[in-house]
């Protein structure tokens, strides 16, 4: 995404990006490409709601790069607590136990997952970049090492998916991660634990 220099206080919302470099930035942004590609595969797999989420995020980021808009980081900060008190933790536990009691792919579970997912995405959109003592630049060796693990994992998962009888038919011989987790997620305790871990991961990410 194109960046302009930092503005002083009161200068925000006064400078716009020129369209040509912004369009180029949107095309070059690998995150937009990854989201679009994942959305296409999810659509082909018959998961309309999932692909809508991915397409929406991709199009919003493309719009952010193309359309003139206020400079990122000049809006109000959106605080995310660094430590959770007992009430949010108890709420997350109650959520996990209650929603875990509903069947997978039910409308109740679907709505219960979409609500925190949408809220987290809105927070991520509005939030300023990390201003703490995080790394300014990572060693290229480290970047390549981690990228290799995740890209290879994604390619292996894609290979297993394409080796299935069809995109919507599971295969024991060529299991995707989803197929491997099915035995855990068929039980109420398993669903509750995974839901709680999912919420915890979301909170961890919003701290970044």
């Amino acid at each position: 995404m194109p960046r302009l220099e930092k503005l002083g206080a009161g200068e925000h919302e006064s400078r716009h990006l020129s369209p040509a470099p912004a369009i180029g930035a949107a095309v070059r942004d690998p995150i937009i490409g990854i989201l679009l590609l994942a959305g296409i595969f999810d659509w082909l797999s018959g998961n309309a709601i999932h692909s809508v989420l991915l397409f929406t995020a991709a199009l919003a980021l493309a719009w952010d790069a193309i359309v003139p808009h206020p400079i990122e980081g000049t809006g109000p900060a959106v605080p995310v607590p660094t430590r959770l008190g007992p009430i949010p933790v108890a709420g997350a536990l109650a959520y996990s136990v209650i929603i875990g009691g509903f069947g997978r792919y039910s409308w109740t579970t679907t709505i219960a997952v979409i609500v925190p997912a949408g809220a987290a995405l809105a927070l991520a959109w509005r939030r300023r970049g990390h201003a703490g003592p995080g790394p300014k630049r990572l060693d290229p060796v480290g970047e390549v090492a981690w990228a290799s693990v995740f890209v290879a994992l994604a390619l292996w998962e894609l290979t297993q998916l394409l080796l299935q009888p069809s995109l919507t038919t599971d295969s024991y011989a060529h299991p995707t991660i989803s197929v491997l987790t099915d035995p855990v997620l068929t039980t109420h305790p398993g669903r509750s634990i995974v839901l709680f871990l999912w919420l915890a991961l979301g909170w961890f990410l919003l701290q970044r």
Binding site: I49, L53, L61, T110, L123, A124, P135, S178
Partner: protein, 66 residues
């Protein structure tokens, strides 16, 4: 060794590879950053933040939602 076993073994290799990198990152002067540092770095931009959180949201939808 069946195809199922091979697939499982490869998944385990990826997990072990990730754990190894995380362990290497904790050494003094390591050129390998921790996974947390990588995520923090990626999430410095709006594109990175939205991309990572969209991935997390997708996980929840994928495993639980219609």
């Amino acid at each position: 060794m069946s195809s199922h076993d091979v697939a499982l073994a490869v998944y385990v290799l990826f997990v072990l590879g990730g754990l190894l990198l995380q362990l290497l990152s904790s050494r003094d002067g390591s050129r390998i950053p921790s996974l947390g540092s990588v995520i923090t770095r990626v999430m410095r931009t709006r594109s990175g933040r939205v991309g990572i959180v969209a991935g997390w949201a997708w996980l929840g939808l994928h495993f639980f939602a219609r």
